[in-house]
């Protein structure tokens, strides 16, 4: 147990370091760029702005909240304080809604869509990849080219294909939104059903994309393990094939978990774009609205939230990995 605690604390420290780095990058990158949206906010204020006073009020409020005309370091502390309070100011494009409010209404859609889809895709993909490595033959010959092709399709491509086939042509599922446009979110069955129906296409497009990549990865890991020396030795000690296959898949699965931790950021990125295709009311669509409305506070907060989500998911996977791989406890104990 001591070994695991050490591992856990190590990972926790790493999580905190990455989190702080993410905060710093989120703060400093826009301010370093030649276009600098923050400077442009200040300059618009300085010019007194030809816009309506309402818009000026928003800029003024943002400027006060983040002290955009104060020295950098002071700005950073203000920024950190505001982040911890969850105060990101007003959204430029959706005034009078606050940024926190906009994000609160979209972040759960993304969480509920993406993480289950990635997990389901990971499970199915790894099972198929393991089967392909073990059974070989025609199963492998069919599955692999299909997986390679699917994994090369961008997530939005898969999204459009599903949407056109099942939404537009067959009309089995609705084509856009998180729930029927004629409904108001409430706890009725009708609403829940509508959410479930709208969930299917975005969900399966993320699942399918994930399956492709994972199946390929698992297959080559499993083939590598099947050729390992311990397989030969175990066979010659008379251990049953079924048991050896168990060793192989456990050992092949472990790097796949680490792989998931490392690639979850990229997966989430792809899935955010897929959300846009379905006009799903998650963070992907929020980014699009913010970009179109030149809404810097909203962009900044959304990217920060996504980063935190990814880092947290990554941390969680590492923690689970520590439980599953017995070597972790052993190696850290020394």
């Amino acid at each position: 147990m001591k070994g695991y605690r050490k591992y856990f604390l190590n990972k926790l420290l790493w999580f905190l370091i990455t989190l702080v780095t993410a905060f710093i990058l989120n703060f400093i990158l826009p301010r370093l760029m030649p276009g600098d949206p923050v400077a442009s906010i200040v300059s618009r204020l300085a010019q007194g702005m030809s816009n309506t006073t309402g818009v000026q009020a928003i800029y003024q409020q943002y400027s006060d909240l983040f002290g955009t005309n104060k020295p950098m370091l002071e700005q950073f502390w203000l920024y950190m304080r505001n982040v911890f309070r969850g105060d990101f100011g007003f959204s430029f494009s959706q005034y009078p809604r606050t940024v926190a409010d906009v994000i609160k209404s979209s972040v759960w859609w993304t969480v509920i869509l993406q993480f289950p889809a990635i997990i389901v895709g990971w499970l199915i993909g790894n099972t198929l990849g393991a089967l392909a490595a073990y059974r070989k033959g025609s199963f492998d010959k069919v599955l692999m080219p299909v997986s390679i092709f699917i994994s090369n399709l961008p997530a939005f491509g898969m999204a459009i294909i599903l949407l056109v086939i099942f939404g537009v042509s067959l009309k089995w599922f609705p084509t856009s939104g998180g729930y029927g446009f004629d409904l108001i979110p409430n706890a009725s069955w009708k609403f829940v059903w509508s959410v479930i129906v709208h969930y299917q296409l975005p969900f399966w497009s993320v699942v399918l994309i994930t399956i492709g990549g994972q199946a390929i990865g698992m297959r080559s890991m499993a083939i590598y393990e099947l050729n390992a020396d311990y397989v030969k030795y175990s066979r010659f000690m008379g251990i049953k094939d079924r048991k050896i296959v168990g060793y192989v898949f456990r050992n092949a699965m472990l790097p796949q978990i680490t792989g998931l931790a490392l690639s979850i950021g990229t997966m989430v990125g792809g899935a955010l774009v897929a959300e846009i295709i379905f006009s799903y009311p998650g963070l992907g669509s929020t980014i699009l609205t913010a970009v179109l409305g030149q809404d810097y506070p909203l962009i900044s907060a959304t990217t920060l939230i996504i980063t935190i989500m990814v880092l947290a998911a990554n941390f969680l996977i590492e923690i689970i990995y520590g439980v599953l791989d017995p070597r972790i406890k052993a190696a850290q104990a020394d």
């Binding site: 790493w14 370091i17 990455t18 780095t21 993410a22 990058l25 989120n26 990158l29 826009p30 760029m33 030649p34 276009g35 600098d36 949206p37 442009s40 070989k136 390679i148 092709f149 994994s151 090369n152 399709l153 961008p154 939005f156 491509g157 459009i160 294909i161 949407l163 056109v164 537009v168 084509t175 856009s176 080559s220 083939i223 590598y224 050729n227 931790a261 490392l262 950021g265 990229t266 989430v268 990125g269 792809g270 955010l272 774009v273 846009i276 295709i277 992907g284 980014i287 699009l288 970009v291 179109l292 810097y296 962009i299 900044s300 990217t303 996504i306 980063t307 990814v310 880092l311 990554n314």
Partner: protein, 416 residues
């Protein structure tokens, strides 16, 4: 070297991928030599013209006319004008006036019209029918009368002096022109997009620009990754610690998020394809660094490297002559993957509205972005987005196949 190339070209996967990629490259190079139109010129007034051959109507009137007596011409003409909804409406009427449903076939236009003419009477009142529906049937009947007419069409020109229309010729229903004799015919194999631009020409140009973006991004990412990986792996120690710390940081912090922040901050005006490529390159070097580093570490203590060290060769000399040749294949593979992912990343960014600025050049991502904004996927205008997805997938697929092929040649454990 020659032997390695031979081996590489024996790998079926590599050859397939390579052929697809070369075919795409050839199209991108040759097509603009044949169709020299500027790729972003707006030629269509209106959105989303269907793919097909567009024949100039004015020119066809003045082209020589030929008479062809074809039996099914009238039926085809009517069939093309009579929509699915209208056919169902006709059927409903016929059923209502007592024709058995088994005798009605909505796909047999001639018979259906025959039944209609025999059974329709505007005076008939059908119980439960609203006035609006009655009026619809009256309109339908009138338009069908027009369709059934066998008269020709007169071509008249306004006399510039008197402003009176003077008939110059008559076109009868059996008149044909030979497409080859019409001066202006434009083939739009993929129709036009939401702005009325030729999708195929635009697509070829977009593929070219996207490949360039992928290439620039890939080269930058590979160079950064290679440099950091070599330093980290070969020098080791403190340098390794620092580089690995940074690499690990940027492995977990999603590069996609950094791309969004940077692209947004740079601002619309400064976002050209090259800028986007550079930004992509600078945010996607981590994987190459990791791969190169682990390769270098496994090479670092090989005999030939130690020998070179003992012979007093410089760091640069050792890296270039004793390390690089052994990791070259990995670097090529990494570059291929980086190019392909660069193209995908650009597409993703553009869909978010953060792609290159929209006025100069198309990219595959921008074409997707336009098609999505104009709801081509909901409206069923497949030609505006589907060829783009196929192109993206083909590029990524071909590069991945090449990569897998190379991997099988250089890592024989995966051959089974």
């Amino acid at each position: 070297m020659k032997h390695t190339l031979q081996q590489v070209f024996h790998s079926g996967k590599f050859v397939t991928g390579f052929s697809i990629f070369v075919a795409i490259l050839l199209i991108v190079i040759i097509y603009p030599l044949i169709i020299t139109d500027p790729p972003l010129r707006i030629i269509g007034q209106g959105t989303f013209f269907e793919p097909g051959i567009y024949v100039n109507v004015y020119d066809s009137i003045s082209s020589p006319h030929y008479t062809l007596n074809l039996d099914d011409a009238a039926a085809k003409r009517i069939a093309s004008k009579l929509g699915e909804d209208d056919r169902i409406a006709i059927k409903d009427w016929l059923v209502a006036v007592g024709i058995p449903e088994s005798e009605i076939d909505t796909t047999d236009t001639a018979k259906l019209l025959d039944q209609w003419v025999n059974n329709y009477d505007p005076a008939t009142r059908i119980s439960g029918m609203t006035n609006a529906t009655r009026n619809y049937y009256i309109r339908l009947n009138n338009s069908l009368k027009g369709l059934l007419s066998t008269d020709g069409v007169s071509i008249a020109v306004a006399n510039p002096e008197t402003a009176v229309l003077e008939e110059t010729s008559t076109i009868v229903q059996s008149d044909y022109v030979n497409v080859n004799q019409v001066a202006n015919v434009r083939v739009l194999p993929l129709g036009t997009d939401n702005f009325g631009r030729d999708v195929l020409t635009e697509l070829v140009e977009a593929t070219r620009v996207s490949l360039q973006i992928g290439f620039v991004a890939g080269v930058i990412a590979t160079l950064i990754g290679l440099t950091l990986g070599l330093l980290s792996g070969y020098v080791g120690g403190f340098v390794d610690d620092i580089i690995m710390f940074i690499t690990n940081l940027f492995t977990v912090i999603p590069s996609f998020v950094l791309l969004i922040l940077i692209s947004f901050s740079i601002g619309q005006d400064r976002r050209g394809p090259v800028t986007i490529a550079i930004v992509i390159g600078f945010t996607s070097w981590v994987w190459t660094t990791r791969a190169v580093r682990s390769q270098v570490i496994s090479l670092r203590n090989r005999d030939h490297v130690n020998l070179s060290k003992l012979s007093g060769h410089s760091l640069v000399h050792i890296i270039v002559t004793d390390i690089f040749p052994y990791i070259a294949s990995y670097v090529v593979m990494a570059l291929i993957l980086q190019i392909s992912s660069g193209i995908l990343v650009e597409a993703g960014l553009s869909i978010l509205g953060l792609g290159p600025r929209t006025t100069d050049v198309p990219t595959l991502g921008l074409m997707m972005n336009w098609a999505m904004i104009y709801q081509a996927h909901i409206l069923g205008k497949w030609w505006a987005y589907f060829p783009v997805i196929v192109t993206i997938a083909l590029i990524a697929f071909s590069m991945n196949l090449m990569n897998t092929g190379l991997d099988q040649v250089f890592n024989p454990a995966l051959r089974d």
